[in-house]
């Protein structure tokens, strides 16, 4: 019938092998945070990559990438899996918009991401998707089996307990954009202090109706 498979990307294909198996593949460990504010989404991550949890293999990783005009996705877990996944989601979003002349809604993007994780190989990733559309700001955490959960703020990665504690205390509905950046950065900072797999500063992605802006800071004090 030539109807495309809803669980497969239209462009390319999902890899046959599971990504990120074996102790020597690069993992991000990571603290990754997504916060909704009154009219934007703020995503914050640390900047450390590690090998087998013992070696800091890179101190300058940007773990959040733009995947859509007004959405970004974080890399949590296997770096290879996350990079491949981001490339696929980005192409699908561009194809959708080119064909229809309107951008994908964030819920559609999240559903697509969930389908690819559920239907394809095991990517070993646990990303956060955040974006702004006509219905407002949205953040989702996506588990490695494709489980989607939307909330006002979400946290994934090895530092999640430490970061979650900060957000539980500080988060309120209808934060301003600037307050959102501050709270997300504080939460990453706490996780960096206590989680050995998180560190080396913070990367912030600001998602507004204008688009996505990503900037990194080795010194967290630059943001706070």
């Amino acid at each position: 019938m030539n109807v495309e498979d809803p669980y497969e990307p239209e462009l390319g294909s999902l890899p046959e092998e599971s990504a990120g198996e074996g102790p020597e593949s690069m993992e991000t460990g990571t603290t990754s945070i997504g916060v909704t504010t009154e009219d934007s989404v703020v995503i914050a991550t640390d900047r450390r990559a590690s090998l087998g949890g013992r070696v800091v293999s890179n101190k300058n990783v940007t773990k959040v990438e733009q995947v859509h005009d007004r959405a970004a996705l974080t890399m949590v877990g296997s770096v290879g899996g996350a990079q491949s996944f981001i490339r696929t989601i980005r192409s699908e979003a561009k194809l959708y918009e080119a064909r229809r002349g309107t951008p994908m809604s964030i819920n559609a993007l999240a559903t697509l991401a969930s389908n690819f994780l559920r239907g394809g190989p095991f990517f070993m990733i646990n990303p956060i998707l955040g974006g702004v559309d006509d219905s407002g700001p949205h953040v989702y955490s996506i588990d490695p089996m494709g489980g989607l959960s939307e909330d006002e703020y979400v946290v994934t990665g090895s530092g999640m307990q430490f970061a979650m504690g900060v957000l539980e205390q500080e988060y309120e509905s209808d934060l301003s954009h600037e307050e959102g950046i501050e709270i997300a950065t504080k939460a990453v900072q706490s996780a960096i202090e206590r989680d050995t797999a998180s560190g080396n500063g913070v990367t912030i992605a600001e998602v507004t109706t204008e688009g996505v802006e990503i900037h990194s800071h080795e010194d967290i004090a630059e943001v706070l």
Binding site: N2, V3, P6, Y7, R99, M104, N107, A108
Partner: protein, 247 residues
């Protein structure tokens, strides 16, 4: 000799005639003209689809004449031409609408659905060993609060309309629609315009049992088929207006 050569251009659909025509596609359009007419009307309050389902015999079960189809919660399709061919396209559209739900968790946009269907129709004008679909469709739907009405033809060209007819007597019905369509019609007025258009080429009067009507309302974004009694009431309202005009 010349005659034989010309004839050869309609043997396969993948063959252009020297003047750039695809005869098999044109013949398929003729097949559509042999079908009873279907009419679509777009109003601000929703889209109306009306089909003529007169049967050859009083013994035929009227419900078994399939010309008006629900495709998704928010989309209906009326067909003209070969019913069997139309059924294939309707099923394609139904599946495509559900793929959209599975893939993106969103109701499919009427334009996106139309183009998926016409892309499918187009394949049957270019592949070897197949023939084109001998059916035209009217695709009516509401997505994101916007009523839309599209027409597909056997070549796979999608066109959007304010009001349109396909099938037999197309040009006369289209004339009637062009004369009477207005941008500010209510849904009821849209239904009556569709019925009036159907009546404009019929010798005998309209019978509710020989018609099927479906509407997709802008407010609810739901496709709904009208009951026979509702159609009868609309026909009555039409007749009353005619009488008033005569007076």
């Amino acid at each position: 000799m010349q005659g034989q050569q010309q004839q050869a251009y309609d043997r396969g659909i993948t063959i252009f005639s020297p003047d750039g025509r695809l005869y098999q596609v044109e013949y398929a359009r003729e097949a559509v003209k042999r079908g009873t007419p279907s009419v679509g009307v777009r109003t601000a309050e929703g889209v109306v689809l009306a089909v003529d389902k007169r049967s050859r015999s009083s013994l035929m079960e009227a419900d078994s004449i399939e010309k008006l189809h629900k495709v998704a919660d928010h989309v209906g399709i009326a067909s003209a031409g070969h019913v069997a061919d139309a059924r294939r396209l309707i099923d394609f559209a139904r599946r495509r609408a559900q793929v959209e739900e599975l893939r993106y968790e969103e109701p499919i946009d009427t334009e996106v659905l139309t183009k998926a269907v016409t892309d499918n129709i187009q394949q049957y004008t270019q592949m070897g060993g197949v023939r084109p679909f001998g059916a035209a469709l009217l695709i009516g739907g509401v997505s994101n609060g916007e009523p839309r009405l599209f027409e597909t033809d056997p070549s796979g060209t999608p066109n959007e309309w304010k009001a349109v007819a396909i099938g037999a007597d197309r040009s006369e019905i289209q004339d009637y629609l062009e004369e009477n369509w207005e941008p500010e019609l209510t849904l009821d007025e849209g239904v009556e315009l569709a019925l009036g258009a159907m009546a404009s080429t019929r010798d005998e009067s309209l019978e509710a049992s020989e018609l099927a009507l479906g509407v997709v309302e802008t407010d609810t974004e739901y496709y709904r088929r009208l009951e026979e009694a509702e159609i009868a009431a609309h026909i009555e309202a039409l007749d009353l207006e005619d009488e008033e005009d005569e007076e």
